[in-house]
Amino acid sequence: MIELRTSPHMKGALSLPQIMRHVIYALLPICAFSIYQFGISALALITVVTLSCIATEALFNHLSNKKNSLNDYTAVITGILLALTLPPGFPLWMGAVAGFIAISMGKTLFGGMGFNLFNPALLGRAFVQAAFPVAITSWTPTGMADRFTQFIPSSLTLPFTAPTAVDGFSGATPLALQKFEDTLTPNSDLILGFSSGSLGETSSLLIVFCGAYLIIRGFMGWRIPLAIILSTILISGAFYLLDNSYPSPLFMLTSGGLMLGALFMATDPVSAPVTPMGMWLFGFLIAAMTIIIRLFGGLPEGIMYAILFANASVPLIEAIAQPRKFGQVATKKSGESK
């Protein structure tokens, strides 16, 4: 039996599940470090959020009679990424809600993988930021002595009750310290990851390593992260030069979720542009929005809203950033065809 196919008859080896698997591999060291810093609360939160994402995806597949889409691993990635943006002591039930919203509203509502307009993980986080404003801004210091034997009390809050604040468990983030108390966290703490913050955002060095792995292996593009980092240096550098009371570019880069956002959130290909020019514009927009929110907005951190805003701008960006096709004549007149 002769088989008929159309060209090309060769196929590259890279497959979508393979890419997604490697993204998970790259996230594991960040998870491990967050567990090392925040203990079993971090482990429980990552597990709960990821399981919630997987369960939600399975539920909607079942409800809409779609075939199993868990084997593309994207639900797992959304779960891990979402967990890494949450505070260590975030109540586990709220984490489950965040996972449910991320997958249901952020992904399946649009038609599943490949069709979402926004980064699902960030959409889930934006929801809980609005729904649980206290829990999402309650921080825990790193390296508590009993972190491997005891949960952070707020983690185990019962569903639909507010977590009770416990003394000794507050640790403001470097951005909040800088914004509201004019205290600068040492750069070494920011780079190595010994400042408080969301699970996965503490060590910018580790994030850069993990992201670099994906870029070098060809699983992720380099333009968007580079665009965000360069634009951040440029814009915050300009403010810093104008007035030294603004934070330095290094602080801007290494504090908060900027690195995690630049390397793992903005690079979600589905919600980012595909054209090279579009990617540069996208990165610049994210950096600019983040800095504007951080310096002039009411919130200490702006990377999440900046990325969501840039996600929404993608169709507009793509419209003006289409590549110049090969052989395009510079001055094309309308009557010139044929």
Binding site: H9, G112, P269, Q322
Partner: protein, 449 residues
């Protein structure tokens, strides 16, 4: 493009790196295939009007004799690939699919295969028109796969002057090694062919562009080049689809052929190695094109190699000769990126066929057959040598929104090289979508009239 590329040979932006798979045949000398008992010689082996048969059933023909004449300028004649008797003129399946008219020749046994006699021609004495006519009389078409009549390509509109003949020795498709072998084994003929064409075009220089996985060919030509002025050899990076003429011109000369235009608009004519080598041999002796070199390879072939095959040889005969394993079920005429599969073993080898690839059930690399939605990873955008946006084109094609594909996203500039389909991690058959979209768009104006 990475920094390392600065130290390598020149290439174009975008495109992909392919495993070249040429190791089984690149060192195999060209061998002659015996004559099949029956040759199937289609009247359409070229782009343009079918040739008109000038023989009738029962008539005896001598190898090299004219059996079908060109029907107008956009057509080429066909010569008898072997001596024998015309059995019939019938509809036969072709590689492209639909059946077309073909002359069936029952060949005499190999020993009596004598060539018809021809009077040699003194090429330099010919006028431009006579030379174009002589090229048409050889029945020559682009042997790289296009099948475009060579004399038409040499007939440049009067308002353009050609300064450069680009000789395409890239052979960027994996597996194929016919041009490679010709450059090594027929170097003199190639260079003579180039001289003839340079004169025909009035070109001041010729540049032979060769991918750097064939450095032995580059050196072989350099060894022979001293007697030929104004011919130079340039190694270019092995990078698919380097052999696309517009990309090769860009790499060698830095000129960009306008979208929808032709190379002569930037003063260039491109011809491939096999075409020029054959012309260099046929023109001075006033003969017609009756055979060509074909790479026969793939996991299903027992004796892979480069074979000089009489045109019209059925694939069935060829496969019996080279030996193939029983499960061979995937036959490709041409290269693996742009070639087409054949539906029947009665399909003959014709002028544009540069390769026959035979694969077993599991041998063609396929990771997964599952098609996932487009994740906009942009690998196709970075691969498209025409700098299109295959991701967006693919999404539009899936929704059958063909008009914006053409008007906004330049679908018609796609030449179906297959880079996007190759690279797509979601296994989306992008080129296949685009082919459908193009044919729908081409049909449309006719419907409206």
């Amino acid at each position: 493009m990475s920094i390392l590329d600065l130290f390598k040979n020149k290439t174009f932006s975008h495109g992909i790196h392919l495993p070249d798979k040429k190791e089984h045949t690149r060192n195999q000398k060209i061998r002659r295939l015996p004559f099949a008992p029956e040759l199937i010689v289609p009247l359409t082996q070229h782009f343009g009007a079918p040739a008109k048969a000038v023989v009738s059933p029962g008539q005896e023909v001598v190898r090299g004799e004219l059996i079908a004449e060109a029907d107008g300028f956009m057509s080429v004649p066909i010569h008898a690939p072997a001596s024998g008797v015309i059995k019939e003129i019938e509809l036969y399946p072709t590689a492209k699919g639909p059946k077309t008219e073909a002359i069936i020749i029952k060949t005499w046994p190999g020993a009596s295969q004598r060539m018809a006699d021809f009077d040699p021609v003194n090429i330099p004495s010919l006028s431009h028109e006579q030379l174009i006519q002589a090229v048409q009389d050889t029945g020559m078409v682009g042997l790289g796969g296009a099948g475009f009549p060579t004399h038409v390509k040499l007939s440049v509109p009067a308002e353009y002057t050609i300064d450069t003949l680009v000789v395409n020795g890239c052979e960027c498709e994996p597996y194929l090694t016919t041009d490679h072998r010709l450059m090594l084994e027929s170097t003199e003929k190639l260079l003579h062919g180039i001289s003839i064409l340079m004169n025909a075009l009035g070109a001041k220089q010729a540049i032979i562009g060769i991918e750097d996985n064939k450095m032995d060919a580059v050196n072989a030509i350099k060894d022979h080049i001293s007697g030929f002025e104004h011919i130079q050899v340039q190694a270019v990076q092995t990078h698919y689809p380097q052999g696309s003429e517009k990309l090769l011109i860009k790499v060698l000369l830095g000129r960009e052929v306008p979208s929808g235009g032709y190379p002569y608009q930037v003063g260039v004519v491109v011809q491939n190695i096999a075409t020029i080598t054959q012309l260099g041999e046929l023109l001075p002796t006033n003969q017609g094109l009756i055979e060509r070199v074909v790479t026969v390879t793939g996991t299903g072939v027992k004796k892979p190699g480069n074979y000089l095959i009489p045109l019209g040889t059925p694939i069935r005969f060829l496969l019996d000769y080279v030996g193939f394993s029983g499960t061979a079920n995937h036959l490709i005429l041409g290269g693996p990126m742009m070639g087409s599969t054949v539906a029947s073993l009665d399909v003959p080898i014709t002028k544009p066929v540069s390769g026959l690839l035979v694969f077993n059930e599991q041998s063609i690399e396929k990771v997964s057959d599952e098609i996932y939605p487009c994740i906009k990873c942009a690998r196709c955008v970075d691969a498209c040598p025409m700098h299109l946006n295959p991701s967006m084109l693919g999404q539009l094609a899936a929704k059958r929104e063909y008009d914006p594909m053409m008007e906004t996203y330049n679908l018609m500039d796609c030449f179906e090289c297959g880079c996007c389909s190759y690279i797509c991690p979601s296994n989306i058959p992008l080129v296949q979508y685009f082919r459908i979209a193009k044919s729908v768009l081409r049909e449309r104006p006719r419907e409206e009239v």
